[in-house]
């Protein structure tokens, strides 16, 4: 019976580069990964986003085979690597590439030797190494030792090394967290270009929501060991499925409201809802959706203002006493005590 079912699942899986079902990993009383289901389509770049301690790195290491699950299935490229009978393939047989948070370059091997390490004695080995070094922009540095490279260069060697054997799935664990802020922007763009060029399916783990939204095709939000939502960045930001996801991804104002179909009434007025709701709800209003105009007769009052140069964050006490934040362009100087009128652009979501 079981084998027949397994065969029936097979064709379903073949289109997905990664398919995870019911994956669970416990550490004593703590459930780090709690019956996770996740599918990644071939060629997709998926961000696994969550606060620290949510289990995202454990999930990545389960996929890689460095940890063994308590329950669940994993298949990579249509091939079961953790099968229903509980046997897990060792990491070296999973056809994965992994970029570690601290890069984990082989300190005793040169850049070339690091990149060639996974290629075995395949023909065309030297050509592949040269191709990758060119792709990551490290031509001419092949003879260098890892310690003679900067952080950004080490990162690119780690990427080239993981890509060299053409893995079915690339896993990146907080790949940008060891780079300083200035470098991070440039490296992110580079990495996306390189992954597109290699047409590889990739998952990267991050706690930085801006990084996830700007880089990934699809973002999976992980909270307390469970996948809370999987969506394209824009949908995730604008239409979070739960209050927790909305609060974690980006800044949020939650205001009590009365909903009736696609309309909700709250302290900011009558707002359009993206999804219909009814009765007493909370609406999520992103700070940048609120526009402010100075108006001495308006009911809302500025309590605090932080100036950021490009924009400013204005804290408000609304008519009913609720508090909210608005992120508005810096062309008008708001000061505590100012009276302001508000307008909300675009639909909001209610929970």
């Amino acid at each position: 019976m079981a084998s027949m079912k397994a065969r029936r699942i097979q064709p379903q899986m073949s289109s997905a580069a990664l398919d995870i079902q019911g994956l669970t990993r416990r550490y004593g009383p703590l459930t780090a990964v709690d019956s996770v289901d996740l599918t990644v389509a071939a060629g997709q770049f998926l961000a696994l986003l969550g606060p620290s301690g949510c289990g995202k790195t454990t999930l990545l290491r389960l996929v890689a085979g460095f940890e063994q699950p308590d329950a669940g299935l994993i298949s990579i490229g249509g091939r079961a690597v953790v099968s229903p009978c509980g046997v897990g393939l060792p990491p070296e047989e999973r056809s994965i590439g992994m970029v570690f948070q601290d890069y984990a370059l082989f300190p005793h091997l040169s850049v070339e030797q690091n990149v060639a390490y996974g290629l075995g004695r395949a023909t065309g080995r030297a050509a592949r190494v040269a191709e990758l070094l060119a792709l990551v922009g490290l031509e001419g540095l092949g003879r260098r030792m890892p310690h003679a490279l900067s952080g950004g260069q080490q990162q690119r060697v780690a990427l080239a090394r993981a890509l060299a054997p053409r893995p079915a799935l690339l896993l990146l664990d907080e790949p940008f967290s060891n780079l300083d802020a200035g470098l991070r922007q440039a490296v992110r763009a580079d990495v996306r270009r390189i992954l597109r060029h290699e047409q590889v399916t990739a998952i990267f783990v991050t706690h930085d929501q801006e990084e996830a939204l700007s880089l990934a095709d699809v973002v999976a939000v992980m909270l307390k060991g469970r996948i809370a939502q999987v969506a394209r960045p824009r949908e995730l930001y604008e239409r979070p499925l739960s209050r927790d996801v909305g609060a974690f991804v980006g800044a949020a104002n939650f205001l009590p409201a009365e909903a009736d179909g696609f309309i909700a009434s709250c302290a900011l007025g009558r707002l359009t809802l993206a999804r219909p709701a009814r009765g007493a709800v909370e609406v999520l209003v992103r700070p940048e959706l609120i526009a402010l105009t100075p108006d001495p007769r308006a009911p809302h009052q500025v309590t605090e203002r932080s100036y950021y140069g490009a924009d400013q964050l204005v804290e408000l006490r609304l008519a009913g006493g609720a508090r909210a934040r608005a992120r508005v362009p810096a062309w008008h100087d708001f000061a505590p005590g100012d009276r302001v009128a508000t307008a909300v652009h675009g639909p909001v979501v209610a929970f």
Partner: protein, 557 residues
């Protein structure tokens, strides 16, 4: 319906999957630890099955004398060492002693002198035909008061082993927060009262541990007591073993010594394990302001200087004197080449064997921590913790009765060295494994390499410096080792250590001088290596910072 069915099979019960056990490592480690534990167990078995007359020997007055003599020697050495080390520790940490740093290092140097070389120096200077007697001969002095026996052994062992108390007390003194003493001063205590009421109580655990280490050293030492002819356990065991056909008597004595040693080790464990009287303030303590010695400065310097003179100067002086006399007689280098070659050969082979045996244990301890790996690692330390003569005797019994083919051969000697010094190799390999980023091994696995291939292509090259350091340490310690070589060496296989020992026993000082000097140099090298390794062992702290992703790689793009 079908999908519901799927779920049921896809979420199987939670208990069945666990990480695979590293069977190969476990098997290899168990084999090595068995090599250590079996002979010692066999010794216990032999002693237990010894005839009533062997156990009856326990009640003989001579045995009682050995027991009380050993106990007195151990206690006396511990007490005398504490009396010497305590003021030195205070002077080098808390006072304005001139050349404080120099004395801090120089007073530790006796650690680098093997005990039987101390024994040689004592006999060669103060013995019946020693330097002092010869210098005084023109004045008509024919005999000096004998240095053989309890007094000589006590003095010599104290000079060898007081640095152990010095090390522990000094470390504790550095941990004491001077603010606590200042608080006592502010409440009206004078300097003397502060020392007695505040500082000394804080140092008590450290003093106890140091004194216990010294007692263990005195109890297990063979070189000094055999050369100074004091009947403690180790000498009595050796005499019994050499002197009679029935070796069960030696086994019984050895078992008693083991029990005594284990008792002291347990006591030490208890003291160390107790919640320490460490600092209660959370802030980092201000550095201690040195106490001004005033007029006591020069007596203090004199005290340190005489200690260094006795502990380092005396052996060096004796060695040089007899070496030069021997050279001028043209007999100093007799058979030195043969002994050196033997020592080098045995040392190098033992080093290689010990490192090979240490690898699985160290990998298991670092990469697969757990109760079983801990047990195996502890087991590997057994041969190191017990007196050398006991381990050697155990292997003699085991070899003679279980594997007679190996008895009195070079392989048996090598096994003996490995059983004794395995922990040194395990320690170095362990340290370098801990310093290595485990992600690097995972990266190799992710790139498609099997575990064995990862071991040879990544792990081994990265821990090579640790392997070499461990091998060097075992090599140097092996060359110094006396009792194991004496008991397990093939007949007609003189080494540097046995040469010094036998020449000194026969008062042939010119013959002992050259190998002794060579051994002292090697042993100083071993100590330097150990110090360097202790520094390396603190490195993982630095590495962790980077691992947590808190620091950025140093170079710029």
């Amino acid at each position: 319906m079908a999908t519901v069915d799927h779920r049921l099979t896809l979420n199987p019960p939670a208990t069945r999957r666990r990480t695979a056990r590293p069977w190969l490592l476990l098997a290899l480690s168990t084999l090595v630890v068995a090599l250590v534990v079996l002979p010692i167990g066999y010794l216990a078995l032999r002693a237990a099955s010894a005839g009533p007359e062997a156990w009856g020997a326990l009640l003989r007055p001579r045995t009682l004398r050995v027991f009380t003599g050993s106990a007195a020697l151990a206690l006396g050495t511990a007490a005398l060492s504490t009396l010497l080390a305590l003021p030195v520790a205070w002077l080098t940490v808390a006072s304005d002693l001139p050349l404080r740093r120099f004395w801090a290092v120089a007073t530790l140097l006796p650690l680098a002198v093997p005990s039987y070389i101390f024994g040689f120096a004592m006999v060669a200077v103060l013995g019946p035909r020693g330097m002092l007697q010869q210098a005084l001969a023109p004045l008509g002095v024919e005999r000096l008061p004998s240095i053989y026996g309890f007094g000589g052994a006590l003095l010599t062992l104290t000079l060898c082993s007081y640095p152990y108390v010095l090390l522990t007390v000094r470390a504790a003194l550095r941990r004491c927060d001077p603010a606590v003493e200042e608080a006592a001063r502010s409440m009206g205590d004078g300097p003397r009262a502060v020392f007695l009421r505040v500082l000394l109580p804080q140092l008590r655990p450290a003093i106890a541990v140091g004194a216990l280490l010294v007692a263990l050293y005195a109890l297990s030492d063979f070189g000094v007591v055999s050369l100074l002819q004091f009947d403690s356990f180790t000498r009595a065991i050796y005499m019994q073993y050499r002197g009679s056909f029935d070796r069960s008597g030696a086994a019984v004595l050895a078992l008693m010594l083991v029990l005594l040693t284990l008792g002291l080790l347990w006591l030490e464990h208890l003291i160390r394990g107790r919640p320490s009287m460490s600092r209660t303030t959370c802030a980092v303590a201000r550095p201690r302001r040195p106490v001004a010695l005033g007029p006591w400065r020069w007596p203090a310097v004199l005290f340190c200087a005489s200690l260094v003179l006795l502990g380092v100067g005396l052996p060096l002086f004796a060695l040089s004197y007899w070496l030069i006399r021997g050279l001028s007689n043209g007999q100093a280098l007799v058979s030195l080449w043969q002994a050196s070659a033997n020592s080098l050969l045995a040392g190098a082979l033992a080093a290689a064997l010990a490192v090979v045996c240490a690898l699985p244990i160290a990998i298991l301890a670092v990469r697969h921590p757990g109760r079983l790996s801990q047990l195996l690692e502890r087991g590997a330390y057994l041969g190191y913790a017990l007196p050398g003569i006991v381990v050697a005797l155990a292997l003699v019994f085991f070899g003679a009765n279980v594997v007679p083919l190996l008895y009195q051969t070079l392989p048996m000697l090598l096994i003996g060295y490995t059983v004794r010094f395995l922990p040194q190799a395990v320690g170095s390999v362990r340290t370098s494994l801990q310093q290595m980023n485990p992600r690097v091994e995972e990266a190799a696995r992710a790139l498609g390499r099997r575990p064995l291939s990862v071991l040879t292509s990544v792990t081994t090259p990265l821990v090579a410096p640790g392997l070499l350091a461990g091998a060097a340490l075992v090599f140097l310690t092996t060359i110094k080792e006396l009792p194991t070589t004496l008991l397990l060496g093939p007949s007609g296989f003189p080494t540097l250590a046995t040469m010094v020992w036998s020449a000194t026993s026969e008062a042939l000082f010119t013959r002992a001088a050259a190998p002794a000097l060579l051994l002292m140099l090697l042993s100083a090298l071993a100590m330097a290596l150990m110090v360097a390794q202790d520094h390396a062992a603190e490195e993982p702290l630095r590495y962790n910072g980077q691992y947590e992703g808190t620091s950025h790689p140093a170079t710029d793009e």
